[in-house]
């Protein structure tokens, strides 16, 4: 029926998810790693951000499950196909998200239309039977096509759909909330019944702020469900120049942003960690070489280096089209290459931090004790230094994520970002350059990209903040102890 395709970036995403799962498993068994994460889980802003991030990751993950559909020959397929012949597959690589959003991507308009509009955004000259040529706003092909009389029914229809969606959202949310509470109910005797536990959640008395989780979840439901219902009949966020649904474009952009944000870090980490620790630990000429390397790299303007590398790649790729059977694969390769080049240029900051930390750690007495045992340098770096700089790595990875998402947008705007066929926030913003100059202005493409990026980066930043605080022993993260006041009163 279909042929699963694993693109390069898909494979790396799966590897990354596996690594995160393995780390979570490892951290569960080590108290010194578990404790800070527990503190993160107790911060309301962090769990709220985590819920939002998870929603984004879910969209990105669905968009990473790629396949090629088998081409069904017209008529009765089984009968006509010669036995043993290889199934033919469509040249287009689709993702699960594409299929789920098929009704969005397939129903295109001719050109711009405003959010939730029923008529086009610009007047056109058209033939109207009985009235000859008139110049008016034409009805959209799909936007509000189910309405007989668009002018009068439009407002009511939208209002009704929104209310229906909200009702449905509340219903779905209560089911989800119930299932969640059952799943996370602690075994403590104080919460013997689900009622006692939900009461505690309601009053915000639980250790993990489940109330915040439920509220965030509720807000997401309240936005997603009505939007889904509306999207069946309208273009919720309008359409772009070639009539593509902007909501669809925004959802597709999420994967690109996540890939850039995470895979770049994956590329960068080996450089930063290995070079940083080596420079700090060995000092001497190794330190000199590594410092020289990153100082040089740092002094080349990043955008120029990236532009040069991307342009060279573009020429190479065009010279050998046989390597890329589908356009998706070509775009994906370019995305991967962009991650690599971004990673190669952005490891210097973390490397410098780690070098400083390793310089400090190598003078510590436990490292000297290991040297007195004749432990090899490699083992000392692996067993004594690396675990003690992991918190810095973790913090900077989370902090870098949002910066990289924004970097992609900038690069695509400059024109050296992702492949033009790939949808990303950067390409959307790039397109908006012309739209903003139009009269009347087309604002929804830019606004959508802006809103989606804002929510994603804000959630990532809030989460990173909580992570940083949790790993910093000097900052109190948990809310003020209630028992402190109670005990003092006693």
């Amino acid at each position: 029926m279909f042929l699963p395709i694993i693109l390069w970036t898909d494979a790396l995403i799966f590897v990354l998810l596996a690594v995160i799962a393995a780390f979570a498993f490892y951290a569960r068994q080590h108290e010194h790693l578990r404790a800070p994460w527990r503190r993160v889980a107790q911060t309301p802003a962090a769990v709220s951000a985590a819920v939002v991030l998870l929603a984004f990751v879910a969209v990105g993950f669905l968009d990473s499950l790629h396949f090629r559909q088998a081409i069904e020959p017209a008529g009765n397929a089984e009968a006509k196909r010669p036995a043993g012949a290889a199934t033919a597959y469509a040249p287009e690589v689709k993702s699960v998200l594409d299929v789920a959003l098929a009704h969005l991507s397939s129903r295109t308009e001719r050109t711009y239309s405003a959010p939730l509009a029923t008529h086009a955004y610009a007047k056109e000259t058209m033939e109207v039977p009985g009235r000859g040529q008139v110049r008016d706003y034409p009805r959209l092909r799909n936007g509000g096509a189910h309405l007989k009389d668009a002018e009068t029914e439009w407002g009511w229809d939208i209002l009704l759909t929104v209310f229906k969606g909200m009702g449905l959202a509340l219903f779905a949310w209560s089911i989800a909330a119930f299932l969640l509470l059952i799943a996370v109910k602690p075994t403590a005797p104080a919460y013997a019944s689900i009622g006692a536990f939900s009461d505690a959640v309601w009053r915000g008395k639980t250790v993990v702020p489940w109330r915040t989780v439920l509220i965030t979840l509720g807000l997401i439901f309240l936005i997603v469900v009505p939007a889904t219902l509306l999207a069946r009949g309208y273009h919720v966020l309008g359409t772009d120049k070639v009539g593509q649904d902007v909501l669809f474009l925004s959802l597709k952009s999420i994967r690109t942003a996540l890939v850039i944000g995470t895979l770049t870090t994956l590329v960068m980490l080996p450089f930063a960690v290995l070079f940083g620790i080596m420079a700090g630990y060995f000092c001497g000429w190794i330190d000199d070489i590594i410092q020289y390397l990153y100082t040089t790299l740092n002094s080349i303007p990043g955008v120029l280096l990236i532009a040069a590398a991307v342009l060279v790649l573009q020429v190479q790729m065009e010279a050998s089209p046989e390597l890329f059977p589908t356009t998706a694969q070509r775009a994906d390769f370019r995305l991967l290459f962009l991650c690599i080049i971004l990673g190669v240029t952005s490891w210097t900051g973390l490397c410098r931090l780690l070098r400083g930390e390793a310089l400090k750690l190598r003078e510590l007495e436990y490292v000297q004790a290991a040297q007195a045992f004749g432990v090899s340098h490699w083992n000392i770096m692996l067993r004594h230094i690396l675990p003690n700089v992991m918190h810095i790595v973790l913090i900077s990875v989370v902090m870098d994520f949002s910066g990289l998402v924004l970097a992609e947008a900038v690069l695509s705007y400059v024109g050296v970002g992702v492949d033009p066929s790939m949808i990303s926030f950067g390409t959307m913003i790039n397109a908006a350059r012309l739209e903003m100059g139009r009269e009347p202005m087309v604002w929804w493409s830019l606004a959508s990209a802006f809103m989606f990026m804002l929510v994603l980066v804000l959630a990532a930043n809030l989460f990173a903040d909580a992570v940083r605080d949790a790993f910093d022993p000097r900052v109190r993260v948990s809310p003020r102890n209630r028992h402190m006041a109670e005990a003092a009163a006693a």
Binding site: E31, H32, L364, E365, Y366, Q368, A369, A370, Q371, A372, F373, G374, V375, S376, N379, R383, H384, P387, N388, R476, S478, R480, N481, H483, M484, A487, A488
Partner: protein, 694 residues
């Protein structure tokens, strides 16, 4: 009472941490009179510093004053607004901290930092300001104050920085000076200088001092009245004379008994078993009961009140049921449960040397310029020679910066010596490289000063202990062969159990992380790690200087018993002469990279020949039996001792290194470094006062 300056009652300061708040200060009352020095003594974690910070309301964010009040004259400190409190700080109460190097801002001149305080507390014209700064620096004994005021903190030595801190504290002309371990980070000779200064200033200004310390010697030489703190409570308050003549609380007595000294040689030190209890829970009885040798059932029922020892001595109060309810303390002769009697005196003196060090030099090049040309050398170790026999302890004594730690590391080949020889049982370690050297790694091991920095916080104790076994394969198997891996694992497991048992830790300790242990326990782990590979010689680099007196006693006892059991030799690097007296057989005194005197403990500490050794000994604050002696009377040698500071090892003085600080320096001392004079068969000194050679 009209002469009361500060009156604290019912002060409770709690620190808000998970899972339960720590009651760092749990209801203390104290009263400081005008012009007196009030000392608060106790082990770390007893709430001494928290008390001081509470008075100034400079608590860390997580700590909070939950009850009590503090009256400074007529002012209630805890009711002032933060704005008014700022006027109190500096002007009426000033504070000096433990670490002078981090208390000064490195990018401002010393004068500017003093000026900042002056500006806060009054208007002065620029000329008057300038004059006042110089005056203040002059007062705290900074020579050439006019010029030095324009210099930066890095141009000052540790002792001088602490003087600057004192000058800054004095700038607001405070009524009360809080000194939180003001000399703990300083060497004995510098400590004596700073303590002298504080005494002098107090005499001149009639200022009160709240002195926080763990050192009973400092208390004996400084305080008028003493309070002993234990677990957030004051357990005993007394005048100095009363306190040193007859300490009443069992905890106070234990503090005295745990001090190492010559009396303890051959035997074990008294130890306080266990450790300060966690302050997270409420107490129902005497807080010391668990560690007290005299505890009985009454101690667990209700906390005793702070009551006068006898009706006529209202100044001496103690919190102990023995004293206040039975009226009498049990006889002191009751044997201490934990001591194991004699611990042996080590191997005979004439045993064959295990380690022979000759003319060991470690010079660090100072590189400058673009091409990093060597312009000078830091002569950290400049030609030392020593012998250590099997089963004996050699103490290497000296002030910080004299190169004793570098010497220890050079012997271990952690730092490669520049010249000289280190001969371990016939093998020349300086010539060995790589695998050949690794073969000797198991014979010499090291124990570090700071038990918090010497254990990897991310490794479990079991992994820490087995690291050496894995690296060196001491368990009797070649670790790199996969076939014997399982066998080796069992052997390692057995050895780790054995080691934990040897240093007195429970077996389940190996599954825990270092942060779950106290300082003393961590030092035990560090000792076990060194023992793991069955060394013959252990370099002990100030292993007890970061520990409390009672814990120090435990560790010293452990080291001593391990020596008699396993026949270990120690190279014991320290600045604490009392520890030397207790543990060592021979002593070598180091000054600026060279050994200036060496001999047996009795020779060097009873009849020191070198003026520097005499100065060191005189600078140690002693707890004198004659408690009524004039405070701070040091005698002439002590005065000589307190002159100046250790010169830089880059520009060593010509001639005898010590001559700029030596009271009896002659012309030849300035010209040429003195050769060795042999006083007895074992006692050698480098000083022109004695005929060279012989």
């Amino acid at each position: 009472m009209s002469d009361t300056l500060l009156n604290i009652s019912g002060l409770k300061t709690w620190i808000d941490v998970e899972p339960a708040p720590v009651r760092a200060v749990d209801g203390i009352d104290l009263e400081i009179r005008r012009g007196e020095t009030f000392a608060v003594v106790g082990e770390s974690g007893c709430g001494k510093s928290m008390t001081a910070l509470s008075i100034l309301r400079l608590l860390p964010e997580t700590a909070e004053i939950v009850a009590g009040n503090a009256q400074l004259g007529a002012t209630e400190l805890f009711e002032l607004t933060e704005r008014d409190m700022r006027d109190v700080r500096g002007r009426r109460i000033a504070m000096i901290f433990q670490e002078p190097t981090t208390s000064l801002n490195p990018v401002l001149t010393v004068g500017a930092q003093v000026e900042e305080v002056l500006r806060r507390h009054g208007r002065l014209s620029p000329q008057a300001m300038r004059k006042r700064i110089v005056e203040l620096l002059d007062q705290v004994g900074i020579p050439d104050a006019e010029r030095r005021a324009g210099e930066y903190p890095f141009q000052f030595s540790g002792g001088m920085k602490q003087r600057v801190m004192v000058a800054m504290a004095l700038a607001g002309d405070p009524d009360l000076l809080i000194a939180d371990e003001p000399t703990t980070a300083l060497d004995v000779t510098i400590q004596a200088q700073v303590l002298d200064l504080l005494r002098k200033l107090q005499r001149e200004r009639g200022m009160s001092i709240l002195l926080i310390t763990h050192d009973l010697g400092i208390v004996a030489s400084m305080a008028h009245r003493v309070a002993v703190m234990y677990a957030g409570r004051i357990v005993e308050v007394a005048d100095r004379q009363q306190f040193f003549a007859s300490p009443q609380h069992p905890y106070s007595r234990k503090l005295f008994e745990a001090l190492p000294g010559a009396e303890g040689r051959g035997g074990a030190l008294a130890v306080i078993r266990g450790q300060v209890p966690p302050l997270t829970a409420a107490f129902h009885g005497c807080r010391f009961a668990d560690r007290c040798d005299f505890a009985y059932e009454r101690c667990g029922q209700g906390e005793p009140a702070l009551m006068p020892v006898a009706p006529d001595t209202s100044g001496h109060r103690v919190r102990c049921v023995h004293v206040t309810e039975k009226g009498r303390f049990p006889a002191r002769s009751r044997p201490v449960a934990v001591t194991t009697g004699t611990l042996g005196t080590g191997a005979p003196a004439d045993a064959a040397p295990l380690l022979i060090v000759r003319d060991l030099k470690v010079h660090f090049p100072i590189r400058k310029g673009l091409l990093k040309r060597t312009v000078a050398y830091v002569k950290a170790v400049d030609g030392i020679s020593l012998d250590i026999a099997a089963g004996r302890t050699l103490a290497l004594v000296g002030e910080s910066g004299c190169g004793k730690t570098t010497a220890g590391k050079a012997i271990l080949q952690l730092i490669r010596p520049t010249a000289g020889s280190v001969n371990f049982q016939g093998a020349e370690l300086t010539a060995l490289r790589g695998e050949a050297l690794r073969g000797y790694r198991s014979d010499i091991q090291i124990i570090f000063q700071d038990p918090y920095a010497s254990l990897n916080p991310r490794m479990r104790v079991g992994d820490i202990l087995s690291e050496g076994l894995l690296a060196l394969g001491v368990a009797g198997h070649a670790m790199n062969q996969p076939g014997v891996r399982d066998l080796a694992r069992d052997a390692i497991q057995k050895r780790v159990d054995e080691l934990l048992d040897q240093v007195g830790l429970p077996k389940d300790a190996q599954r825990r992380y270092p942060h779950e242990f106290s300082g003393g326990q961590r030092q035990r782990i560090a000792i076990a790690r060194a023992l793991a590979v069955k060394p013959r010689l252990i370099v002990c680099d100030e292993p007890t200087s970061a520990l409390d007196v009672s814990v120090q006693a435990q560790i010293l006892n452990l080291l001593k018993s391990l020596q008699s059991e396993l026949g270990l030799s120690y190279l014991f690097i320290t600045h604490n002469l009392a520890v030397v007296e207790f543990l060592a057989h021979e002593v070598a005194v180091m000054y600026l990279g060279r050994i200036i005197e060496r001999g047996t403990v009795d020779e060097v500490l009873r009849s020191p020949a070198h003026p520097y050794t005499q100065a060191l000994l005189a600078a140690v604050p002693r707890i004198d039996k004659d408690v009524n002696r004039e405070m701070g009377s040091g005698g002439t040698t002590a005065e000589a001792a307190k002159q100046g500071e250790l010169p830089s090892p880059v520009n060593t003085p010509a001639g005898c290194h010590f001559h700029p600080r030596c009271a009896s320096a002659k012309d030849e001392c300035r010209r040429e470094y003195p050769g060795s004079s042999t006083l007895t068969r074992s006692h050698v000194v480098n000083c022109w006062k004695y005929p060279i050679g012989k």
